[in-house]
């Protein structure tokens, strides 16, 4: 049960051991699609964090009132409501960033990671734990997006957060659509390699 887990452990689990992008390989679409700059990643990450936390808490509060047979449609409608909220808010207050993200804000509604957390965690645990779990998963997604965005922005346009740091002509390839797949694939391999090396080092001791 989650009662013996502290809030910090729940958050750390979302960021590290069950990172939505690199470990669970869910919600890959935006990770590949709009991670061309760090800012884009942060914006979408915050939107996802918001939706994840609020839907987790909502479902967790109403978990006893939801009939098991209609739970999936209920999750979907809950997520859709919160996505509409963030969609309208972003369109009203940050129209420029909203225009860059295009259709992906609306598509948060279809992110597998959110539905999965509701199904696996929020419908069983207390609202407080669900809050921390949602926060952890949202942060995990945010971190993943920022890391991919960092690599692509640095190599693709030679800048970080819009400031030129490299000073030479960058590899345009990394801003191109297809590079998203390569970067994510290589980073996954990299994390696998670290894990493998760590396990081997542990085994030798």
């Amino acid at each position: 049960m989650a009662n013996d887990k502290s809030s910090m452990q729940l958050i750390a689990r979302g960021i590290l051991s069950e990172n939505p992008i690199f470990k669970l390989a869910l919600s890959m679409c935006p990770a590949v699609g709009i991670s061309t700059t760090v800012i884009n990643g942060v914006m979408l990450g915050i939107a996802v964090l918001f939706v994840q936390v609020f839907s987790s808490v909502t479902i967790s509060l109403f978990k006893n009132k939801i009939h098991p047979r209609i739970r999936i449609p209920t999750y979907t409608l809950t997520i859709a409501t919160w996505v509409t909220v963030i969609d309208l808010a972003l369109a009203a207050y940050l129209p420029e960033a909203y225009a860059k993200m295009g259709i992906f804000v609306k598509l948060i509604v279809a992110f597998a990671i959110i539905t999965m957390r509701l199904e696996m965690f929020a419908c069983k645990e207390s609202a407080q734990d669900s809050f921390w779990d949602g926060l952890g998963m949202g942060l995990g997604f945010l971190v993943g997006m920022v890391v991919i965005g960092l690599v692509r922005e640095l190599l693709g346009s030679g800048a970080i957060l819009g400031y030129d740091v490299l000073g030479f002509k960058p590899l345009l390839f990394f801003i191109l659509p297809s590079a998203g797949f390569f970067v994510v694939g290589l980073m996954m391999a990299f994390f696998n390699w670290i894990e493998l090396a760590y396990k081997q080092a542990k085994g030798k001791k």
Binding site: A25, L26, S27, M28, C29, P30, V32, G33, I72, P73, T76, L77, I79, A80, T81, V83, T84, D87, L88, I103, K106, L107, V109, A110, F111, A112, T115, M116, E119, L176, P177, S178, A179, G180, F181, F182, V184, G185, L186, M188, A189, F190, N192, W193, L196
Partner: protein, 313 residues
């Protein structure tokens, strides 16, 4: 006598019927079409006077939907025999819209007004090709990647999944179109888009799920855990959202959904044929599974980049 009287009578009738055609023949231009992306080509019946026809001020061009915005003619070119004139514009034209070219004489009076449009079928096909290849939903829009990587391990699963997706997409897109045009817009409920579309999509998926369970249990089993995720899949929900964004008509919506589904099927099939062989290949341990699949997908995406700018119609 009788015959002659009848003859005059019928000639009069014939002339009356042919009058519009003959009058039209008296007009200046015989044909008009889009040329290159910033060009409209007019063809005349007879050679025209080069000096008068070369004056850019003679032509007023605008899109039929906004007559107030005049498109500026940058240059007028005339062919050697003087029968065809090409109007070049500063900016590329939106060839999906009907353009009106009106020709005026020196005094400003209108001589003739022509409508330039692509054929509607060609336009529909261009939407289909665009969704299928140029803007393939997986390789250039990055949608539906979870299902794409999850179910592309076997060719048979991939084919079945692609077909089911196409059916669900077309059905849900048409339903969403109906709801969008006849309920959401008239009652000003546009902000409910997401909720309504996701509801319709889940409904369609649920129906397909129930039918498939009865009709093809083997295919049903091979979907595994992804069936739950299909309910909220980004490819399927993206089609109604794009439809609402561009305010498509019902035929355009059908073409978009069909193209998107076909593109997804194509992507799944290509990927599964590669992944079946990858299993026999000697891959470094760290790259096994998803990482190598991403690299392969990246290579496909690069190949699909070659389709950009493809224009058949």
């Amino acid at each position: 006598m009788m015959i002659r009287r009848h003859f005059t009578y019928w000639t009069a009738v014939l002339l009356f019927i042919l009058a519009p055609v003959l009058l039209q023949a008296a007009e200046l231009a015989s044909g008009q079409k889009f040329g290159a992306e910033n060009e409209i080509i007019l063809t005349y019946h007879a050679p025209v006077d080069k000096t008068t026809m070369q004056d850019g001020g003679m032509y007023t061009v605008f899109e039929e939907s906004d007559p107030d915005i005049r498109l500026e003619v940058q240059k007028v070119g005339i062919s050697g025999d003087g029968r065809s004139v090409s109007l070049l514009f500063a900016e590329p034209l939106n060839t999906a819209k009907t353009h009106v070219v009106s020709i005026r004489d020196a005094g400003g009076a209108e001589i003739e007004s022509l409508k330039v449009a692509k054929s509607y079928i060609g336009y529909l096909l261009s939407i289909l090709i665009s969704a299928l290849l140029v803007n393939n939903f997986v390789f250039t829009k990055y949608l539906g990647l979870c299902v794409f990587f999850g179910t592309s391990k076997r060719k048979t699963t991939a084919k079945g999944m692609g077909v089911v997706f196409t059916i669900v997409m077309v059905a849900s897109a048409l339903m969403s179109w109906f709801f969008y045009q006849f309920i959401l817009i008239p009652y000003g409920l546009n902000f409910l888009q997401i909720v309504v579309f996701i509801g319709l999509v889940s409904l369609t998926v649920q129906a397909v799920d129930t039918i498939l369970r009865k009709v093809n249990p083997i295919l049903f089993n091979s979907f595994g855990v992804y069936l739950v995720l299909v309910i909220a899949n980004c490819v399927i929900i993206a089609v109604p959202l794009i439809m609402a964004n561009n305010n498509y008509s019902v035929f355009e919506t059908f073409m978009l959904a069909f193209g998107a589904g076909g593109g997804f099927l194509l992507a799944l099939y290509l990927m599964s044929s590669v992944r079946e062989r990858l299993e026999l290949a000697n891959i470094p341990t760290t790259f096994k599974g998803l990482p190598i699949a991403f690299i392969v997908a990246g290579q496909f995406a690069m190949a699909f980049l070659g389709f950009s700018g493809l224009q058949l119609f």
